[in-house]
Symmetry: C2
Subunit: 142 residues, 2 copies
């Protein structure tokens, strides 16, 4: 996604009408340095609090899924209880902080290339992703 505000172009390119709700969502999601990991709830809060944009919950869901279909967002499974999304849509690895429930992207260099020795007959590999769960080091817990 672009650095500044011509999300209108980008949306049109993939065949999504650049409505003001979608443009606002793009601004929240993509006007930032690093990739953004979020839940629907995070996003709704950001839209209503930071931006003063009231967008109906249904639209947020619709738009997130539209972006996902168009390759602007990727769903990440770390918690079976709610959906996390990621503005980094490539196959990549994560650290998951079990204290803060924060996801952190791994760089290429952080983890050696994974070598899969087994193959399932008649199946091709779509993705290989590593999840590294981390937690507080200090033994402050009883």
């Amino acid at each position: 996604m672009p650095k500044k505000c011509n999300f209108i172009e980008k949306l049109r390119e993939v065949g999504l009408r650049p409505t003001k709700q979608r443009v606002k969502m793009c601004e929240v999601l993509y006007n930032r340095e690093k990739t953004f990991h979020f839940t629907i709830n995070d996003l709704v809060k950001l839209l209503s609090e930071k931006m003063n944009q009231k967008i109906s919950l249904a639209t947020v869901y619709n738009t997130v899924h539209a972006f996902e279909r168009k390759g602007y967002l990727k769903e990440i499974s770390i918690d079976s209880h709610k959906s996390y999304f990621d503005t980094n849509t490539s196959a990549h690895h994560h650290f998951f902080d079990e204290d803060t429930h924060e996801l952190i992207d791994c760089d290429e260099s952080d983890i050696d290339k994974i070598n899969i020795r087994k193959n399932i007959t008649g199946k091709k590999i779509n993705s290989v992703e590593v999840l590294v769960r981390v937690a507080s080091d200090n033994q402050t817990q009883k």
Copy 2:
């Protein structure tokens, strides 16, 4: 878990009362060769159909979570929309068949040891797990 039916002992060992519901669940979960990956729904179906045991849904949830707390089951995150559980409670890797939604355990030998080069300050690594998504090889789709 044991091969035959002294689940009563095992349950007592971890401080769970060996009620008939729990013993039946143990039989369904652990009287099998390979590790078992399942959703709550799978389990309820197995209990009512194969075994002729009607167990309330609340009890199935309660018991699964009790087993999880006691280290008899582990929750697996592959799908943000429902919970999968695994009778293999060690940290291990999986293949996930995106056609059939089936989980398959990887053996030690299937994937080389993962080398993590990055570390998050103040955090220790709890687990490192790989998810390999696979799907049908034939290009039968449009």
